[in-house]
Protein backbone atom coordinates (compact mmCIF):
# COMPACT_ATOMS: atom_id res chain seq x y z
CA UNK A 1 0.00 0.00 0.00
CA UNK A 2 2.91 2.33 0.44
CA UNK A 3 3.69 2.53 -3.26
CA UNK A 4 2.65 5.81 -4.85
CA UNK A 5 -0.45 5.41 -6.97
CA UNK A 6 0.85 7.27 -10.02
CA UNK A 7 -2.14 6.42 -12.17
CA UNK A 8 -4.44 8.07 -9.65
CA UNK A 9 -2.23 11.15 -9.52
CA UNK A 10 -2.19 11.55 -13.29
CA UNK A 11 -5.97 11.18 -13.41
CA UNK A 12 -6.32 13.81 -10.72
CA UNK A 13 -4.32 16.49 -12.56
CA UNK A 14 -7.02 17.56 -15.06
CA UNK A 15 -9.71 17.41 -12.36
CA UNK A 16 -7.81 19.65 -9.97
CA UNK A 17 -6.70 21.99 -12.76
CA UNK A 18 -10.38 22.62 -13.37
CA UNK A 19 -10.50 24.38 -10.00
CA UNK A 20 -7.41 26.50 -10.60
CA UNK A 21 -9.31 29.29 -12.44
CA UNK A 22 -11.45 29.90 -9.35
CA UNK A 23 -8.35 30.00 -7.14
CA UNK A 24 -6.76 32.53 -9.48
CA UNK A 25 -9.98 34.51 -9.72
CA UNK A 26 -10.15 34.81 -5.94
CA UNK A 27 -6.52 35.87 -5.64
CA UNK A 28 -6.53 38.07 -8.75
CA UNK A 29 -9.64 40.02 -7.75
CA UNK A 30 -8.42 40.24 -4.18
CA UNK A 31 -5.06 41.56 -5.35
CA UNK A 32 -6.49 44.31 -7.58
CA UNK A 33 -8.87 45.51 -4.88
CA UNK A 34 -6.22 45.24 -2.18
CA UNK A 35 -3.79 47.30 -4.28
CA UNK A 36 -6.33 50.08 -4.74
CA UNK A 37 -7.21 50.09 -1.05
CA UNK A 38 -3.57 49.90 0.00
CA UNK A 39 -2.59 52.86 -2.21
CA UNK A 40 -5.38 54.93 -0.66
CA UNK A 41 -4.28 53.95 2.83
CA UNK A 42 -0.65 54.70 2.04
CA UNK A 43 -1.45 58.17 0.71
CA UNK A 44 -3.64 58.91 3.73
CA UNK A 45 -0.83 57.81 6.02
CA UNK A 46 1.94 59.70 4.19
CA UNK A 47 -0.05 62.93 3.97
CA UNK A 48 -1.35 62.43 7.53
CA UNK A 49 -4.87 63.45 6.53
CA UNK A 50 -6.65 64.08 9.84
CA UNK A 51 -9.36 61.62 10.97
CA UNK A 52 -8.78 59.36 7.92
CA UNK A 53 -5.24 58.80 9.13
CA UNK A 54 -6.44 57.62 12.55
CA UNK A 55 -9.14 55.42 11.01
CA UNK A 56 -6.59 53.87 8.67
CA UNK A 57 -4.25 53.16 11.56
CA UNK A 58 -7.04 51.29 13.40
CA UNK A 59 -8.05 49.41 10.24
CA UNK A 60 -4.50 48.31 9.52
CA UNK A 61 -3.95 47.37 13.13
CA UNK A 62 -7.07 45.16 13.18
CA UNK A 63 -6.58 43.42 9.86
CA UNK A 64 -2.89 42.82 10.45
CA UNK A 65 -3.50 41.79 14.02
CA UNK A 66 -6.07 39.05 13.50
CA UNK A 67 -5.84 35.78 11.54
CA UNK A 68 -7.31 35.74 8.06
CA UNK A 69 -9.48 32.75 8.94
CA UNK A 70 -11.05 34.70 11.82
CA UNK A 71 -11.82 37.57 9.44
CA UNK A 72 -13.36 35.22 6.90
CA UNK A 73 -15.59 33.71 9.58
CA UNK A 74 -16.59 37.20 10.71
CA UNK A 75 -17.60 38.26 7.19
CA UNK A 76 -19.32 35.05 6.26
CA UNK A 77 -20.99 33.80 9.43
CA UNK A 78 -20.81 36.82 11.72
CA UNK A 79 -22.30 39.61 9.63
CA UNK A 80 -25.53 37.77 8.66
CA UNK A 81 -26.14 37.12 12.34
CA UNK A 82 -26.24 40.86 12.96
CA UNK A 83 -28.06 41.82 9.75
CA UNK A 84 -29.87 38.89 8.18
CA UNK A 85 -29.97 40.56 4.75
CA UNK A 86 -26.20 40.15 4.61
CA UNK A 87 -26.75 36.49 3.80
CA UNK A 88 -26.38 37.70 0.22
CA UNK A 89 -22.64 37.72 0.86
CA UNK A 90 -21.74 34.38 -0.69
CA UNK A 91 -18.60 32.41 -0.01
CA UNK A 92 -16.73 33.83 -2.98
CA UNK A 93 -17.56 37.42 -2.06
CA UNK A 94 -16.67 36.87 1.59
CA UNK A 95 -13.35 35.31 0.59
CA UNK A 96 -12.49 38.21 -1.71
CA UNK A 97 -13.52 40.70 0.99
CA UNK A 98 -11.34 38.95 3.52
CA UNK A 99 -8.34 38.69 1.22
CA UNK A 100 -8.72 42.34 0.16
CA UNK A 101 -8.89 43.78 3.65
CA UNK A 102 -6.30 41.47 5.17
CA UNK A 103 -3.69 41.98 2.49
CA UNK A 104 -4.39 45.69 1.92
CA UNK A 105 -3.41 46.24 5.54
CA UNK A 106 -0.02 44.65 4.93
CA UNK A 107 0.46 46.20 1.51
CA UNK A 108 -0.41 49.71 2.71
CA UNK A 109 2.55 49.61 5.02
CA UNK A 110 5.02 48.47 2.37
CA UNK A 111 3.71 51.03 -0.15
CA UNK A 112 3.98 53.73 2.51
CA UNK A 113 7.53 52.67 3.26
CA UNK A 114 8.37 52.78 -0.46
CA UNK A 115 6.95 56.30 -0.80
CA UNK A 116 8.70 57.58 2.31
CA UNK A 117 11.88 55.92 1.08
CA UNK A 118 12.13 58.15 -1.99
CA UNK A 119 14.97 60.57 -1.29
CA UNK A 120 13.96 63.93 0.15
CA UNK A 121 16.12 65.76 -2.42
CA UNK A 122 13.94 64.33 -5.21
CA UNK A 123 10.77 65.90 -3.86
CA UNK A 124 12.53 69.16 -3.11
CA UNK A 125 13.90 69.30 -6.64
CA UNK A 126 10.45 68.62 -8.09
CA UNK A 127 8.85 71.36 -6.03
CA UNK A 128 11.69 73.81 -6.79
CA UNK A 129 10.98 73.66 -10.53
CA UNK A 130 7.34 74.43 -9.91
CA UNK A 131 5.61 71.04 -9.92
CA UNK A 132 2.42 70.75 -7.92
CA UNK A 133 2.11 68.13 -5.17
CA UNK A 134 0.10 65.90 -7.52
CA UNK A 135 2.60 66.20 -10.35
CA UNK A 136 5.44 65.47 -7.98
CA UNK A 137 3.67 62.32 -6.76
CA UNK A 138 2.81 61.07 -10.24
CA UNK A 139 6.02 61.94 -12.05
CA UNK A 140 8.73 61.68 -9.46
CA UNK A 141 7.74 59.80 -6.31
CA UNK A 142 5.38 57.00 -7.43
CA UNK A 143 7.55 55.68 -10.30
CA UNK A 144 10.47 55.34 -7.93
CA UNK A 145 8.32 53.94 -5.14
CA UNK A 146 6.84 51.32 -7.50
CA UNK A 147 10.26 49.94 -8.18
CA UNK A 148 10.97 49.60 -4.49
CA UNK A 149 7.54 48.19 -3.59
CA UNK A 150 7.28 45.65 -6.42
CA UNK A 151 9.13 42.72 -4.85
CA UNK A 152 7.19 42.90 -1.58
CA UNK A 153 3.88 43.36 -3.37
CA UNK A 154 4.57 40.28 -5.48
CA UNK A 155 5.36 38.48 -2.27
CA UNK A 156 1.93 39.36 -0.91
CA UNK A 157 0.26 38.24 -4.13
CA UNK A 158 1.97 34.87 -3.87
CA UNK A 159 0.89 34.62 -0.25
CA UNK A 160 -2.65 35.54 -1.27
CA UNK A 161 -2.83 32.75 -3.84
CA UNK A 162 -1.99 30.28 -1.13
CA UNK A 163 -4.37 31.94 1.33
CA UNK A 164 -7.29 31.12 -0.99
CA UNK A 165 -6.97 27.57 0.32
CA UNK A 166 -8.98 28.72 3.35
CA UNK A 167 -12.03 29.38 1.19
CA UNK A 168 -13.37 25.83 1.44
CA UNK A 169 -14.29 26.53 5.05
CA UNK A 170 -16.79 29.01 3.58
CA UNK A 171 -18.08 26.43 1.11
CA UNK A 172 -16.05 27.63 -1.87
CA UNK A 173 -14.66 24.60 -3.67
CA UNK A 174 -11.38 25.94 -5.00
CA UNK A 175 -8.22 23.96 -5.65
CA UNK A 176 -7.68 22.98 -2.02
CA UNK A 177 -11.34 22.14 -1.37
CA UNK A 178 -11.47 19.92 -4.44
CA UNK A 179 -8.29 18.18 -3.32
CA UNK A 180 -9.63 17.56 0.18
CA UNK A 181 -12.81 16.00 -1.15
CA UNK A 182 -11.01 13.83 -3.69
CA UNK A 183 -8.60 12.67 -0.96
CA UNK A 184 -11.54 11.82 1.28
CA UNK A 185 -13.00 9.65 -1.45
CA UNK A 186 -9.81 7.75 -2.26
CA UNK A 187 -7.95 7.93 1.06
CA UNK A 188 -4.86 8.58 -1.06
CA UNK A 189 -3.97 11.73 0.84
CA UNK A 190 -0.32 11.92 -0.13
CA UNK A 191 -1.05 11.50 -3.82
CA UNK A 192 -3.85 14.07 -3.83
CA UNK A 193 -2.03 16.72 -1.84
CA UNK A 194 1.25 16.35 -3.72
CA UNK A 195 -0.62 17.03 -6.98
CA UNK A 196 -2.20 20.12 -5.42
CA UNK A 197 1.14 21.27 -4.03
CA UNK A 198 2.84 20.99 -7.41
CA UNK A 199 0.03 22.96 -9.09
CA UNK A 200 0.37 25.79 -6.53
CA UNK A 201 4.13 25.65 -6.90
CA UNK A 202 4.09 25.95 -10.69
CA UNK A 203 1.71 28.91 -10.55
CA UNK A 204 3.90 30.70 -8.03
CA UNK A 205 7.02 29.89 -10.07
CA UNK A 206 5.43 31.51 -13.11
CA UNK A 207 4.68 34.60 -11.05
CA UNK A 208 8.28 34.73 -9.86
CA UNK A 209 9.36 34.76 -13.50
CA UNK A 210 6.98 37.64 -14.15
CA UNK A 211 8.36 39.49 -11.15
CA UNK A 212 11.91 39.02 -12.44
CA UNK A 213 10.93 40.41 -15.85
CA UNK A 214 9.19 43.43 -14.30
CA UNK A 215 12.15 44.14 -12.08
CA UNK A 216 14.50 44.21 -15.05
CA UNK A 217 12.19 46.62 -16.84
CA UNK A 218 11.83 48.93 -13.86
CA UNK A 219 15.57 48.89 -13.26
CA UNK A 220 16.43 49.96 -16.79
CA UNK A 221 16.83 53.58 -15.79
CA UNK A 222 19.33 52.57 -13.13
CA UNK A 223 21.55 50.25 -15.12
CA UNK A 224 24.59 51.66 -16.78
Amino acid sequence: MDVLNVEYMVGLIPILLGYLPLTLQLAGTGMVLALILACLFAVVRVLRIPVLNQLTIVFISFFRGTPLLVQLFLFYYGLPQLVSALTVIDGITATIMGLTMHFSAYMAESIRAAIVGVDRSQTEAALSIGMTNGQMMRRIVLPQATRVALPTLMNYFIDMIKATSLAFTLGVTELMGATQKEAAGSFLYFEAFIVAAVIYWIVVEMLSKLQHYLEIRLNKAYSR
Binding site: P80, L170, T173, Q180, K181, A184
Partner: protein
Protein backbone atom coordinates in the same frame (compact mmCIF):
# COMPACT_ATOMS: atom_id res chain seq x y z
CA UNK B 1 -49.45 38.51 -36.31
CA UNK B 2 -50.98 35.39 -34.91
CA UNK B 3 -47.61 34.02 -33.78
CA UNK B 4 -46.81 37.35 -32.21
CA UNK B 5 -50.00 37.19 -30.22
CA UNK B 6 -49.30 33.65 -29.12
CA UNK B 7 -45.79 34.62 -28.15
CA UNK B 8 -47.06 37.51 -26.12
CA UNK B 9 -49.60 35.34 -24.37
CA UNK B 10 -46.88 32.82 -23.64
CA UNK B 11 -44.67 35.51 -22.19
CA UNK B 12 -47.45 36.88 -20.04
CA UNK B 13 -48.24 33.45 -18.71
CA UNK B 14 -44.56 32.92 -17.98
CA UNK B 15 -44.32 36.18 -16.09
CA UNK B 16 -47.53 35.40 -14.24
CA UNK B 17 -46.26 32.00 -13.18
CA UNK B 18 -42.92 33.37 -12.00
CA UNK B 19 -43.99 33.70 -8.37
CA UNK B 20 -45.07 30.07 -8.44
CA UNK B 21 -41.74 29.01 -9.88
CA UNK B 22 -39.94 30.97 -7.19
CA UNK B 23 -41.45 28.51 -4.72
CA UNK B 24 -39.49 25.82 -6.47
CA UNK B 25 -36.12 27.15 -5.40
CA UNK B 26 -33.70 24.29 -5.09
CA UNK B 27 -33.35 22.85 -1.62
CA UNK B 28 -29.85 23.76 -0.48
CA UNK B 29 -28.18 20.91 1.37
CA UNK B 30 -24.81 21.28 3.03
CA UNK B 31 -22.31 18.43 3.39
CA UNK B 32 -18.58 18.12 3.93
CA UNK B 33 -17.80 15.92 0.95
CA UNK B 34 -15.20 14.37 3.22
CA UNK B 35 -17.01 11.61 5.09
CA UNK B 36 -16.67 8.31 3.26
CA UNK B 37 -18.97 6.60 2.36
CA UNK B 38 -21.67 9.11 3.30
CA UNK B 39 -20.36 12.01 1.29
CA UNK B 40 -17.18 12.05 -0.75
CA UNK B 41 -15.87 12.92 -4.19
CA UNK B 42 -14.52 10.57 -6.83
CA UNK B 43 -13.41 11.85 -10.21
CA UNK B 44 -15.05 15.19 -9.53
CA UNK B 45 -18.41 13.53 -8.73
CA UNK B 46 -20.11 13.99 -5.39
CA UNK B 47 -21.25 10.58 -4.15
CA UNK B 48 -22.32 8.71 -1.08
CA UNK B 49 -25.19 7.45 1.01
CA UNK B 50 -26.22 10.94 2.12
CA UNK B 51 -26.18 12.17 -1.48
CA UNK B 52 -28.45 9.33 -2.60
CA UNK B 53 -30.92 9.67 0.28
CA UNK B 54 -31.17 13.43 -0.22
CA UNK B 55 -31.75 13.01 -3.95
CA UNK B 56 -34.53 10.52 -3.21
CA UNK B 57 -36.07 13.03 -0.79
CA UNK B 58 -35.82 15.70 -3.48
CA UNK B 59 -37.66 13.46 -5.92
CA UNK B 60 -40.33 12.76 -3.32
CA UNK B 61 -40.77 16.50 -2.66
CA UNK B 62 -40.58 17.36 -6.35
CA UNK B 63 -37.77 19.79 -5.58
CA UNK B 64 -34.32 20.08 -7.01
CA UNK B 65 -31.52 19.45 -4.55
CA UNK B 66 -28.51 21.72 -4.63
CA UNK B 67 -25.55 20.34 -2.70
CA UNK B 68 -23.19 22.82 -1.07
CA UNK B 69 -19.91 21.38 0.15
CA UNK B 70 -17.81 23.03 2.83
CA UNK B 71 -15.46 21.97 5.58
CA UNK B 72 -17.48 20.38 8.37
CA UNK B 73 -16.56 23.18 10.78
CA UNK B 74 -18.34 25.63 8.49
CA UNK B 75 -21.55 23.69 7.87
CA UNK B 76 -23.51 24.58 11.00
CA UNK B 77 -22.58 28.24 10.50
CA UNK B 78 -23.97 28.06 6.97
CA UNK B 79 -27.22 26.60 8.29
CA UNK B 80 -27.37 29.21 11.04
CA UNK B 81 -26.79 32.09 8.62
CA UNK B 82 -29.43 30.85 6.18
CA UNK B 83 -27.12 29.89 3.35
CA UNK B 84 -28.28 26.28 3.35
CA UNK B 85 -31.58 24.72 4.39
CA UNK B 86 -30.26 21.62 6.11
CA UNK B 87 -27.16 19.49 6.57
CA UNK B 88 -26.89 15.93 5.25
CA UNK B 89 -23.73 14.79 6.96
CA UNK B 90 -24.77 12.18 9.54
CA UNK B 91 -25.62 14.82 12.10
CA UNK B 92 -26.26 13.05 15.40
CA UNK B 93 -29.19 14.23 17.48
CA UNK B 94 -27.89 15.54 20.80
CA UNK B 95 -29.35 17.57 23.64
CA UNK B 96 -27.00 20.43 22.83
CA UNK B 97 -28.01 20.55 19.20
CA UNK B 98 -31.69 20.22 20.01
CA UNK B 99 -31.44 23.55 21.81
CA UNK B 100 -30.29 25.26 18.61
CA UNK B 101 -32.04 23.31 15.84
CA UNK B 102 -35.07 21.18 15.13
CA UNK B 103 -34.49 17.72 13.73
CA UNK B 104 -36.23 15.49 11.23
CA UNK B 105 -37.01 11.89 12.15
CA UNK B 106 -33.77 9.87 12.35
CA UNK B 107 -32.77 8.18 9.13
CA UNK B 108 -29.66 6.37 10.39
CA UNK B 109 -29.25 4.30 13.56
CA UNK B 110 -25.70 3.54 14.51
CA UNK B 111 -23.23 3.12 17.36
CA UNK B 112 -19.95 4.69 18.37
CA UNK B 113 -16.98 2.51 17.52
CA UNK B 114 -13.36 2.50 18.66
CA UNK B 115 -10.89 1.87 15.83
CA UNK B 116 -7.19 1.15 16.25
CA UNK B 117 -4.21 0.41 14.10
CA UNK B 118 -4.18 -3.19 12.94
CA UNK B 119 -2.46 -5.48 15.45
CA UNK B 120 -3.10 -3.27 18.45
CA UNK B 121 -3.85 -5.76 21.25
CA UNK B 122 -3.81 -3.21 24.03
CA UNK B 123 -7.08 -1.53 23.12
CA UNK B 124 -9.99 -3.99 22.95
CA UNK B 125 -12.82 -1.56 23.55
CA UNK B 126 -13.82 1.76 24.96
CA UNK B 127 -12.75 0.81 28.50
CA UNK B 128 -9.14 0.46 27.31
CA UNK B 129 -8.91 4.08 26.20
CA UNK B 130 -7.72 5.14 29.67
CA UNK B 131 -4.43 6.99 29.30
CA UNK B 132 -4.61 6.90 25.50
CA UNK B 133 -4.72 9.54 22.82
CA UNK B 134 -7.96 9.32 20.86
CA UNK B 135 -8.89 11.17 17.68
CA UNK B 136 -12.38 12.40 16.82
CA UNK B 137 -13.70 14.58 14.03
CA UNK B 138 -14.07 18.25 14.82
CA UNK B 139 -17.67 19.17 15.48
CA UNK B 140 -18.75 15.54 15.64
CA UNK B 141 -20.53 14.19 18.66
CA UNK B 142 -17.95 11.54 19.55
CA UNK B 143 -15.87 13.89 21.70
CA UNK B 144 -18.98 14.43 23.83
CA UNK B 145 -19.54 10.67 24.15
CA UNK B 146 -15.94 10.24 25.33
CA UNK B 147 -16.28 13.06 27.84
CA UNK B 148 -19.32 11.35 29.34
CA UNK B 149 -17.19 8.33 30.29
CA UNK B 150 -16.36 8.13 34.03
CA UNK B 151 -12.61 8.04 33.25
CA UNK B 152 -12.78 10.76 30.58
CA UNK B 153 -10.17 12.90 32.34
CA UNK B 154 -7.63 10.21 31.53
CA UNK B 155 -8.33 10.28 27.81
CA UNK B 156 -6.42 12.71 25.63
CA UNK B 157 -8.97 13.70 23.00
CA UNK B 158 -7.65 15.16 19.77
CA UNK B 159 -9.99 16.80 17.29
CA UNK B 160 -9.36 16.56 13.56
CA UNK B 161 -10.78 18.42 10.61
CA UNK B 162 -10.08 15.36 8.45
CA UNK B 163 -7.50 12.61 8.03
CA UNK B 164 -7.87 11.00 11.45
CA UNK B 165 -7.94 7.52 9.88
CA UNK B 166 -4.54 8.15 8.37
CA UNK B 167 -3.08 9.50 11.61
CA UNK B 168 -4.32 6.44 13.49
CA UNK B 169 -2.74 4.16 10.89
CA UNK B 170 0.48 6.14 11.24
CA UNK B 171 0.38 5.69 15.02
CA UNK B 172 0.19 9.40 15.82
CA UNK B 173 -2.86 8.66 17.94
CA UNK B 174 -3.77 5.37 19.63
CA UNK B 175 -7.30 5.14 18.30
CA UNK B 176 -10.15 7.05 16.78
CA UNK B 177 -13.84 6.99 17.51
CA UNK B 178 -16.37 7.12 14.71
CA UNK B 179 -19.71 5.58 13.89
CA UNK B 180 -19.51 1.85 13.34
CA UNK B 181 -20.93 1.92 9.85
CA UNK B 182 -18.41 4.22 8.24
CA UNK B 183 -15.56 2.75 10.28
CA UNK B 184 -16.30 -0.74 8.95
CA UNK B 185 -16.66 0.63 5.46
CA UNK B 186 -13.29 2.41 5.62
CA UNK B 187 -11.58 -0.73 6.85
CA UNK B 188 -13.20 -2.83 4.14
CA UNK B 189 -12.60 -0.55 1.18
CA UNK B 190 -9.54 1.56 1.87
CA UNK B 191 -5.89 0.54 2.03
CA UNK B 192 -5.33 1.49 5.66
CA UNK B 193 -4.14 -0.98 8.35
CA UNK B 194 -6.99 -0.43 10.82
CA UNK B 195 -9.31 -2.65 12.83
CA UNK B 196 -12.44 -2.35 14.93
CA UNK B 197 -11.72 -2.57 18.67
CA UNK B 198 -14.58 -4.19 20.54
CA UNK B 199 -18.33 -3.57 20.26
CA UNK B 200 -20.06 -0.23 19.83
CA UNK B 201 -20.50 1.72 23.04
CA UNK B 202 -23.31 4.15 22.48
CA UNK B 203 -26.46 4.23 20.41
CA UNK B 204 -26.57 7.20 18.06
CA UNK B 205 -29.33 8.46 15.83
CA UNK B 206 -28.67 10.76 12.92
CA UNK B 207 -31.09 13.16 11.28
CA UNK B 208 -31.40 16.40 9.34
CA UNK B 209 -31.20 19.64 11.35
CA UNK B 210 -33.29 22.66 10.39
CA UNK B 211 -33.48 26.23 11.62
CA UNK B 212 -36.14 26.67 14.29
CA UNK B 213 -38.25 29.08 12.27
CA UNK B 214 -41.65 28.79 10.66
CA UNK B 215 -40.10 28.01 7.28
CA UNK B 216 -37.70 25.57 8.92
CA UNK B 217 -40.51 23.72 10.71
CA UNK B 218 -42.51 23.50 7.49
CA UNK B 219 -39.55 22.12 5.62
CA UNK B 220 -38.86 19.64 8.42
CA UNK B 221 -42.44 18.35 8.18
CA UNK B 222 -42.14 17.95 4.42
CA UNK B 223 -38.85 16.08 4.77
CA UNK B 224 -40.40 13.83 7.43
CA UNK B 225 -43.23 12.95 5.07
CA UNK B 226 -40.75 12.21 2.29
CA UNK B 227 -38.66 10.04 4.64
CA UNK B 228 -41.74 8.09 5.73
CA UNK B 229 -42.75 7.53 2.10
CA UNK B 230 -39.24 6.35 1.18
CA UNK B 231 -39.25 4.04 4.17
CA UNK B 232 -42.60 2.55 3.15
CA UNK B 233 -41.46 2.01 -0.40
CA UNK B 234 -38.33 0.29 0.85
CA UNK B 235 -36.18 2.83 -0.93
CA UNK B 236 -34.23 3.84 2.17
CA UNK B 237 -33.37 0.20 2.68
CA UNK B 238 -32.28 -0.19 -0.93
CA UNK B 239 -29.95 2.81 -0.73
CA UNK B 240 -28.52 1.60 2.56
CA UNK B 241 -27.87 -1.88 1.20
CA UNK B 242 -26.21 -0.43 -1.86
CA UNK B 243 -23.63 1.36 0.30
CA UNK B 244 -23.33 -0.83 3.37
CA UNK B 245 -24.74 -4.22 2.50
CA UNK B 246 -27.06 -3.85 5.46
CA UNK B 247 -29.98 -1.68 6.53
CA UNK B 248 -28.76 1.10 8.80
CA UNK B 249 -31.92 3.14 8.51
CA UNK B 250 -33.79 1.12 11.13
CA UNK B 251 -33.01 0.79 14.83
Amino acid sequence: MKTLLINMLLMISLVASAPLLAQEDPLKVGMSGQYFPFTFVEQDKLKGFDVDVMKAIGKELGREIQFETANFSGLMGMLESGRIDTVANQITITEERKKAYIFSEPYVYDGAQVVTKEGNTEIQGVEDLKGKTVAVNLGSNFAELLRELPYSDQIDIKTYESNLERDTALGRVDAFVMDRVSASQIIKEKPLPLELAGPTFSQITNAYPFRDTEAGRELRDQVNEALAALRDKGELKTISEKWFGTDITRP
